[in-house]
């Protein structure tokens, strides 16, 4: 039987829109808008100025801190503007705008031809850092930080997060079918860099073809493919680790504290590209889908292309969308402006109709306990929402484990009172952080 965890929910996965659609390579955009914040951590500082000519793969913004990741030009052309542009996570952000010269010319010396087996662990890690890799599942944590555990933490297991538990999204699914070899190579490279022998791929059962494809390649190199129950949030890092290894990451700790490193499918592809060919992260597979999209697709998009372009490539809207979301429906960000650019972490563009959204009217909590049963972290979401609503932020933190919430949204999904529990939780976290900063 496929492995599972306590809690979680079973939304209709809606992957049928795009599960059978092969990845289409998007044309080079006329211009790319590349934000200087594409990861969790410190923003980058531009190292180009307006008027500069840049090549594809050239660094255009440099990381200023360890938890940060450099940003590269996704096509060749001229820097025409460095200014505030819409941003799918922060609303707006400084972006470097490059007008394409239509040549799409690589930086001199790229791509390389390297044998990863001949490379040292440090060389691999350096290549990953230079290529500006971030977690491509959506959380965008800089990959080189995950790949460089302090010497006192011994890592024994590498997990490839191929659960893709968010409804609608099929980018990882398609990548596993079409880039199988590259994903497994990326895994092997990461395992070598970490000095890990045990590699496991966790995939939800609703992708049997991907499981079969991965098994075929993984079997040869001694990597295990583990089918998991189709249940949200199977791919949340902490639940995934628990399901696969039986270990629980202590509150406030990181996966590396239990000897595990988890990377997403897209990140594994980027690792292979970065290490073997020196190619930085400038494109990614994004699922453009939802009932409001005329022809849903999986697209290989440049970082800096826009949501509106991607949607137009899918025939535009066939119905008026109520919401456009960057990412999946459970954890993605609702957009107010579809001119925002694609980023390294944009796993999906989802256009939902009013019928899909089904918001309902928020009512008081009736204490039905569904959220408690659905919470994969073992919290009491109803109480967190009530405390957030009342403004009792410190109580939520000190007595109800506010900070352990992973904001997966399972509680909101099941709530019959249509309470915006995650909203109250985010608010409480922000208020507590602001109070702590004041002290």
């Amino acid at each position: 039987m496929a492995k599972s965890f306590r809690g979680g929910v079973h939304p209709d996965d809606r992957k049928r829109y795009t599960a059978t659609k092969a990845i289409e390579v998007a044309p080079v955009p006329v211009k790319v808008i590349i934000p200087t914040r594409q990861h969790i951590g410190a923003p980058c500082a531009p190292v180009v100025t307006v008027g500069d000519l840049v090549k594809k793969g050239q660094v255009i913004a440099e990381a200023q801190a360890f938890v940060s990741s450099p940003i590269h030009a996704s096509t060749s052309g001229k820097v025409v503007e460095i200014a505030d542009y819409p941003h799918s996570v922060f609303g707006s952000c400084v972006a470097i705008v490059i007008e394409s010269d239509g040549q799409d010319e690589w930086l001199e010396g790229l791509p390389l031809d390297r044998q990863w087996k001949a490379m040292e662990a440090d060389e691999i890690k350096d290549a990953i850092r230079q290529a500006g890799l971030v977690g491509m599942g959506g959380a965008t944590f800089p990959t080189h930080v995950k790949m460089a555990p302090p010497p006192d933490k011994s890592i024994d297991t590498f997990i490839l997060n191929a659960a893709e538990c968010e409804p609608y999204l099929t980018a990882d699914h398609r990548a596993m079918l079409e880039y199988t070899e590259k994903i497994v190579t990326g895994m092997q490279i990461a395992m070598k860099a970490l000095g890990v022998k045990r590699g496991i791929v966790g995939v939800e059962e609703n992708k049997p073809d991907a499981i079969a494809a991965m098994q075929k390649v993984c079997g040869v190199v001694g990597i295990e493919v583990m089918p998991l129950e189709t249940k949200y949030p199977q791919g949340a890092e902490k639940t995934l680790i628990h399901v696969i290894t039986g270990k629980e990451v202590p509150s406030g700790a990181l996966p590396m504290d239990v000897g595990v490193v988890v990377q997403n499918v897209g990140t594994a592809i980027a690792i292979a590209d970065a290490v073997e060919r020196g190619i930085p992260l400038i494109e990614r597979v994004t699922t453009v889908t939802g009932a409001a999209i005329a022809e849903p697709k999986n697209l290989l998009l440049r970082v800096g292309d826009t949501f509106s372009n991607a949607i137009a490539m899918c025939g535009g809207f066939k119905e008026e969308p109520m919401k456009v979301i960057a990412g999946g429906p459970m954890m993605g960000m609702a957009q107010s402006n579809i001119e925002a650019p694609i980023m390294k972490g944009t796993s999906g563009i989802l256009a939902l109709t009013a019928a899909d959204v089904n918001p309902g009217v928020e009512r008081p909590c009736i204490r039905c306990g569904r959220c408690v049963e659905a919470c994969p972290m073992g919290l009491i979401p109803s109480m967190l929402s009530i405390l957030g609503e009342r403004g009792a932020y410190p109580v939520a933190k000190e007595e109800y484990d506010l900070l352990d919430c992973v904001e997966c949204g399972s509680c909101v999904y099941v709530c019959p009172a249509k309470r915006n529990i995650v909203h109250y939780i985010k608010l409480s976290k922000a208020q507590n952080a602001a109070m702590a900063a004041k002290k």
Binding site: P329, A334, I366, G378, K426
Partner: protein, 327 residues
């Protein structure tokens, strides 16, 4: 890029994730519970005739009307149709003898909705089950009327009185032998309790129909099976241990009605299943204490209300196991 791609959009709605929700809603739950109670309520009409009909109508209409007035006054009358006021009225009607004078069901409903539910803040905030508060209020105000039980219409041919005590009342005052004798023999008694042709509160008599409705609610996931099973089992085991007839105790005195439809009232019971089991054991234990040692032959109503008081305490003590703390 297709030239005819439509890109017009209206104002996009922006809110925190998640962006999809299940089809569940408060109304769905409440109306399902009403539906689950309907067979037993209809049986009360068959059993007690017009007096049961008047009770049902009076309770439901006055409960809904009270709710309407209060919500109107608070400016939130958009939730009047959620089925919760109907449920309170229905439960109250099922928990009282059929054929009370008209003002009693009305007062009971006004107290249930106006005081037990809305002085606490309305649905979700009430500490006590509103229908049970309504019933407790009526029992305190009109004790005689509230313990005068009409004989089921279906039995009128056999028995010469028009009122009779409940099986537990007969057992308490006249003894077990007398109760068995009244039904003929033991099997007849069990059968009658199971089907429901006997005296008692209007809607509590038919064990089988209440169980069917309960099974439906468990199947729909609206109640946890652990609550009714634990409460009924606790009563069965304890009454058995203390020398009673567990089957009579389990099938009468509104235990099934209380265990399936009021001890499961999500608003007033602990939020974790573990806490709910503790609640159910406590409610079962108190029921038995009241029945065997107390002045009343029946104890389900007070047992549940008393356990409602400790719900916040149970919630504080019984927490789900947090991820990362399970080792």
């Amino acid at each position: 890029m297709s030239a005819e791609a439509k890109m017009e959009i209206g104002t996009l709605s922006v809110s925190t994730s998640p962006h999809i929700r299940s089809e569940e809603s408060i109304s769905k739950i409440m109306w399902s519970v009403n539906a689950a109670l309907a067979p037993a309520a209809l049986f009360s009409v068959y059993n007690f005739g017009m007096p049961a009909v008047t009770n049902l109508l009076l309770c439901i209409i006055s409960a809904v009307f009270t709710e309407y007035l209060v919500l109107r006054w608070q400016g939130k009358d958009n939730v009047i149709c959620d089925g919760s006021a109907v449920l309170t009225g229905l439960l109250l009607a099922m928990n009282i003898p059929a054929g009370l004078p008209w003002y009693m069901p009305v007062f009971g409903s006004v107290v249930a909705i106006g005081i037990a539910k809305h002085t606490m803040g309305g649905l979700g905030y009430n500490i006590f089950n509103p229908a049970l508060i309504g019933r407790a209020f009526l029992l305190a105000s009109w004790p005689i009327a509230m313990t005068t039980w009409p004989t089921p219409a279906s039995l009128l041919g056999k028995v010469d009185a028009v009122t009779s005590a409940t099986p537990l009342g007969i057992m308490k005052l006249q003894g077990y032998e007398k109760l068995v004798a009244l039904f003929g023999d033991k099997m007849e008694m069990y059968k009658s309790l199971f089907i429901g042709t006997r005296g008692g509160s209007a809607g509590e008599t038919s064990a089988v129909l209440l169980l069917l409705g309960g099974a439906y609610l468990i199947y729909k996931g609206y109640i946890n099976w652990q609550v009714p099973v634990t409460m009924i089992a606790t009563v069965g085991v304890l009454t058995g241990v203390f020398g009673g007839d567990p089957i009579v105790h389990m099938m009468s005195g509104g235990l099934i009605l209380g265990a399936f439809y009021m001890a499961t009232d999500m608003v007033t019971i602990p939020i974790t299943i573990k806490g709910q089991v503790i609640f159910a054991i406590g409610a079962g234990l108190l029921t038995v204490l009241i029945r065997l040692l107390g002045g009343y032959p029946e104890g389900v109503c007070y047992a549940i209300l008393l356990m409602n008081c400790v719900t916040p305490l149970i919630d504080r003590l019984v927490r789900p196991k947090k991820y990362g703390a399970r080792g």
